[in-house]
């Protein structure tokens, strides 16, 4: 039996309820102008024009979508598929789709492998991180945009400003580790090898992210015995070391 031979439901003039005041007191005869239905003329009453326009709009678009679905179904799509897709065309399209996806995936794998950082992630710990691999400096990369309110993290090595208050001859060394600084920074006391030797305390450290610069301020007591004093400074964000401060107090002339 062909589609044209078999019995079908009648084509309905209306498939949705009317949600307006127009039919409350006088239900319209079926098939005649129903306010807001496709068969009705324009509103004569200005106040009715807006709601009837909305209702009419919804009726028009729903009828359109229904017809599109029926058309899609007629030529082989699913009832709710508004894209026409006949059998062979659909198979070809799927084949194209999978091939294209596979190709794109392969390209993405290639791209990822060429950009992969071949240095191992340095092990971390209280004594690390240790730099291993090919060179100590991380590849320069642009500072990523930080979400509002989040600390700005630079991937480039920070600069250092050192303020030394002392009457002694000293050499100061600051070694920074290749890890981003979030801050705040805190410095341990500087100690000599001799555990009984006095310590250098009160070291002030500040990381200014806008400058990407670590500001260090050390006061060396005038009676500090000569020798080498060193200590770690940590990043409070993860309590891991970011570098070492070393002060060598030279013999007095």
């Amino acid at each position: 039996m062909t589609a044209s031979e078999r019995a079908k439901k009648p084509r309905l003039k209306r498939t949705k309820p009317i949600r307006s005041w127009s039919g409350v007191f006088e239900p319209p005869p079926e098939g005649a102008s129903v306010a807001g239905s496709p068969a009705s003329g324009p509103a004569t009453n200005g106040a009715k024009a807006v709601p009837e326009a909305v209702q009419l709009g919804y009726t028009v678009i729903q009828d359109y979508l229904n017809e599109a679905r029926q058309e899609a179904q007629r030529i082989g799509g699913t009832p709710r598929d508004t894209r026409a897709s006949a059998g062979p065309e659909r198979l070809t399209q799927r084949l194209f789709q999978y091939t294209s996806d596979l190709t794109n995936l392969w390209l993405e794998v290639l791209q990822a492998s060429t950009q992969r950082d071949t240095r191992r992630e340095p092990p971390r710990g209280t004594a690390g991180p240790f730099v291993n691999g090919y060179h100590a400096e991380p590849a320069p990369s642009p500072t990523p945009a930080a979400p509002q309110g989040a600390p700005v993290v630079s991937l480039q090595s920070p600069s250092v400003s050192l303020k030394l208050c002392t009457s002694r001859r000293v050499e100061a060394t600051i070694e920074l580790r290749p890890a981003p600084i979030v801050g705040p920074l805190v410095a341990h006391e500087l100690r000599a090898a001799d555990p009984d030797a006095p310590r250098v305390q009160g070291i002030e450290l500040e990381y200014r992210s806008t400058e990407n610069r670590v500001h260090v301020s050390i006061r060396i007591p005038s009676d500090l015995p000569e020798g080498v004093y060193s200590g770690l400074f940590l990043d409070r964000s993860d309590n891991l070391p970011r570098g070492t401060l070393t002060v060598t107090v030279l013999p007095q002339d």
Partner: protein
């Protein structure tokens, strides 16, 4: 069944709980149907109907004919169906008919009681309810012991006459079969309902209180509206304007 030989148009009028079982192909093929079934929900219910030889006012209910809910489990809803008494073929019509119903909890996980076992559960609930709770609504229906006055129940001739045994002749039922479950109208789900007027299939319509019928609640009024809409969809009759409650502001 073969289209054109055994049927021309199809109408699906089962309860919502049966849909996953009877419409598998539709669910697989039609995303809208699938969404509708996925978002539909139902619960089992338990029902009890009593035919009484006294009217409710005599039993102490002074607030007139009523549909009330929010009473107590296991029968928190009571509807006065006394107006149906003349429609039933009693030699002597009862003075009152009381219909009770409520949600019936699903069987505990891991158990699979039979329908008969679940019916017996409802019977036990009914017996306990009448002895313990209904006296709050009908103070005149209690014996001096506090138990239900079983003699109030009107029984057909030939049924057991004594005490609680009279309850066996009344109506009680566990509505646990998929098609018997009660349709829920959960927030955010009504948009997925399909209307009996939906034109997606040119030889098929649906009806039931689970459809998008203009009064989307689980009730007989909704079922009737839906059925009339389905009739309109299949043959154009009755006119939509004649389906009371379908069109409204």
């Amino acid at each position: 069944m073969k289209l054109g030989r055994d049927f021309d148009l199809a109408l699906l009028g089962v309860g919502v709980g049966a849909l996953p079982y009877v419409s598998r192909q539709l669910i697989e093929r039609d995303p809208a149907w699938r969404s509708m079934v996925e978002h539909s929900a139902s619960v089992p219910t338990q029902a009890l109907q009593l035919w009484l030889s006294e009217d409710f006012e005599s039993l102490g209910w002074r607030s007139g004919p009523v549909n009330l809910s929010g009473f107590v489990q296991p029968f928190d809803t009571w509807a006065d169906m006394s107006h149906l008494a003349p429609e039933e073929s009693w030699p002597v019509a009862p003075r009152a008919i009381a219909y009770f119903c409520s949600v019936f909890p699903d069987a505990p996980p891991g158990t699979q009681p039979s329908t008969d076992e679940r019916n017996e559960e409802v019977f036990e609930n009914a017996r306990r309810f009448l002895n313990r709770d209904v006296g709050w609504l009908w103070p005149g229906a209690k014996q001096p012991t506090g138990d239900f006055l079983w003699d109030l129940l009107v029984v057909p001739p030939g049924t057991p006459q004594d005490g609680e045994a009279r309850l066996r002749s009344q109506f009680w039922r566990a509505n646990v079969r998929p098609s018997d479950r009660y349709t829920l109208a959960l927030p955010g789900t009504l948009q997925f309902r399909i209307s009996p007027l939906d034109p997606s299939y040119d030889n098929f319509a649906v009806c039931g209180d689970w459809t998008d019928c203009g009064f989307n609640e689980g009730c007989v009024e909704s079922a009737v509206m839906s059925g009339r809409l389905a009739a309109h969809a299949l043959c154009g009759f009755p006119a939509l304007s004649e389906i009371v409650g379908y069109d409204h502001p």
